[in-house]
Symmetry: C3
């Protein structure tokens, strides 16, 4: 199978600026400045008194202090070093030693608050209209779904996580003890549709593990159908879907599980991993707590593996490098690389 | 206002070798070797049996061990690896396996012990006579002043601290809670005199904060005059002065406070900050302890801000860099950069 | 004395691939994968079910995960990420999502298990026959000798340890308190024989320190002969020998001590130091425990000095660099450098 060279992908910036990325959860942003590195850019996030999210370059143009160590003054943020104030547009609105502010400012980045997520656009603002909007993740806004979420910083390139969640044959090895899904062996079907790649894997009349059966009110080992699929929606977002169906009825799924894997590069070797997941059954707190516990343990296993992989790549062993060899199970991941290469080809900002 | 480019200043070495710098406090140097990196040079300091300070390159020319892990033998220092001995001139005076020492040695650096300070010259020795002597800080030697001192290592370029103490409009932001000086808002008057730049700020009939009033025996809020000034004396030394005057009498100041901000680069991104401060009133131990406590807390605040600034500069964000924008309050700092650029232009050692 | 430039030696790779190096102790390698970086190469070591040692490149060619985080399946190792399996030859023998394995693999490295040591060859396999075999260290296999061993990772280039153990005039400085051998002052005799350099130092009718006298059943201070010698056997191995002889009898030594200093570069600035030592007298556990305690303390002293030296070299001080100056006591170390330069000249792999 043809492969994109891993060296090309990881050797230089492999994430597009001209794309919406997740900056934070909505409930992380308030009246205390929140500092976060996103796409190798220092960003400070806060809300105006009316509640609108503001995202500014987190570096005072005066003497380079991070604005985030300062305080909010009304809708402006005040630098913690010499008290320069900048409004939501990024323009300087006050310098303590001057009667009127000088024509200086910081960059202000477009943001969109959608459900639990705050998306940010750090790209070329003249191209904003041409860039696809943040992908829809309707279930996050659906009251029928109970959701949980978290964020971990992983010392690995963001694309390693993309590939991880596009090839679930790793379940039986990385998550054998936690998820206990050991029947995901075959390569799934893969379909490409424009800028989206989707895998689909059906498990028909297959025994359900306890962690699936019990929340569905079934005996562990019950023979049900599981329809799994997942899509790369943009460089920033991946969705995973699991539908559980009674094989003896042609009705809608008895239970649906959804995952959003939202990765935002910190830099070329580190990422924020925002994960949101939910389901439309067994939504009581205790049941969701158990679900969340399992997910967190599993994601720690992914974190460990991805950091090991990045560590080998970063250390650049002198010997034995033989590129990488892909197999059929990598088809979705390979398509994802091609799609992201397409995004990179449309970049209008050079480093 | 014209600005010197911050990139030029921090991108490469911006400290002169041909200059006297503070190496240590006099009471740090004794009969135990003291290792210290100064201007990216390993230096070992010790005293001869008669008490003279010796400063040598802290690297044995034989097999590169730091001499400072060895021991003193009379006036010589003995390498802790193979026992080679070097005298105060740097010349090798003994090799255990040889009957007479070979013609090898380490560099010996001129030093001057003045009051509590040991100054060192790491520059071109052929130019030593042309280099200004260590600046005078007479109050340190004046028995009318009670002094305290300390040293912190700050992970920032030394020039960031120079600029910090030349623009005290940061008092109201960085030190609002500790120094409580919130009336230092306007840009001060700035005068350049040869290789010295001086700011001056007068606060006439201004309420004194408790930390100033009480040591002067006044009620907090008493309306007195405060005359503040400060000078860059050399790349190594900055002096700050605060005179407290009864506004109804034309007599000398009722109280004088002096600060010496003595910075010695460790390397381009780290400095030793030797600070000495004193006053000629409220000199009892308990009062000085309170004074010192406030100063140390304030300097920790500066350390935090400067390390944040250096961190942004060192990380070199990919995006949003817009140089830096100076305002009137930076006038003294900008002059300081020009003065230091003058020192750099006179350098005779290239890296 | 002529010197090889220390800059040349440490500036770029100074260890040959085409050489046998120690990978591990035999008792470290079993049915749990052992990960180890050797010559800047990730290696995983394990034993087959029949007990043969296998050494493979520790990086899955599929997605670069270290194989060592996986599990053994019979004689194969299974990647912990997607379950690819590789046999002792390095060839892929199983991919879970495929009916037959693809023609991919990892490098397999020749190994030799000799007594307590596992040697590895990471070099050009077409030259294996021309490369000297692992040096003989017969005493390790001699039941008359009781041996002890250990491994420390030292943050220093491996050659620094070679030089350390070829110039024992450091005993009186680095180990004055532990080994208490303060009479090793003169440069030893040095002889070169092909690719081996040997020093020899005789101490005739010299008082024995307690740590030597007591195990020999003598009074501390007894006047005996000590014949010390040591040889660089290869870039990987150094042997040290100490024979204790009754000066009044012409019989074989009353006691023999042997050291093997086995260094394997991790990379240019770090090494594994495998040390094996033994003696043919005072072999009871309690006596050996005391011996081992003294050796470990001494080796920690060497580690400290070598890391200090490497730290100075790595930091590359801007000023005062004057190369290095060698003396007569360095003769063996200088010859060792020449010998290793000869190995480097025969390298057939370029980085």
């Amino acid at each position: 199978m043809a492969t994109a060279s891993v060296d090309t992908l990881y050797g230089q910036r492999n994430y597009p600026y001209n794309c919406w990325w997740v900056a934070a959860y909505a409930d992380e942003v308030g009246r205390m400045p929140l500092a976060r590195w996103l796409l190798d850019t220092p960003v400070v996030l806060y809300r105006t008194e009316e509640g609108a999210v503001v995202a500014l370059e987190d570096r005072c143009p005066h003497r380079q202090a991070p604005l985030s160590i300062g305080k909010l003054r009304g809708d402006a943020i005040e630098c913690g070093y010499h008290g320069f104030q900048f409004g939501p547009s990024g323009r300087c609105v006050h310098v303590p030693s001057m009667s009127s502010p000088p024509p200086i400012g910081v960059e202000a980045y477009p943001v969109r608050e959608i459900g639990p997520l705050v998306w940010i656009y750090l790209g070329d603002q003249s191209r904003l209209d041409d860039v696809p909007p943040p992908p829809e993740l309707a279930w996050m806004l659906d009251p029928g779904f109970e959701i949980r979420k978290g964020r971990i910083e992983i010392a690995a390139n963001y694309l390693l996580l993309k590939e991880n969640v596009l090839d679930l044959t790793h379940f039986g090895y990385v998550h054998a003890a936690t998820f206990q899904i050991t029947d995901w062996v075959d390569a799934p079907k893969v379909a490409k549709d424009g800028n989206t790649v989707t895998y689909r894997q059906e498990f028909i009349r297959t025994p359900l593990i306890p962690g699936m059966a019990i929340p569905l009110g079934l005996e562990p080992g019950a023979l049900w159908n599981r329809i799994n699929s997942g899509s790369l929606l943009s460089p920033a977002a991946q969705e995973g879907r699991s539908d559980f169906c009674n094989p003896d009825r042609s009705e809608p799924p008895a239970g649906r599980v959804r995952f959003a894997h939202l990765t935002t590069p910190i830099d070329q070797k580190n990422m924020h991993y925002f994960y949101v997941f939910g389901r439309d059954f067994a939504r009581e707190e205790a049941a969701m707590d158990m679900f969340e516990k399992m997910v967190i343990e599993g994601f720690k296993e992914d974190e460990f593996v991805l950091e090991q992989v990045q560590s080998i790549m970063s250390r650049k062993p002198r010997r034995g490098s033989q590129g990488e060899r892909s197999v059929k199970a990598d088809a979705a991941g390979i398509e994802a690389r091609r799609i992201i290469e397409g995004w990179m080809a449309r970049e209008t900002i050079t480093d």
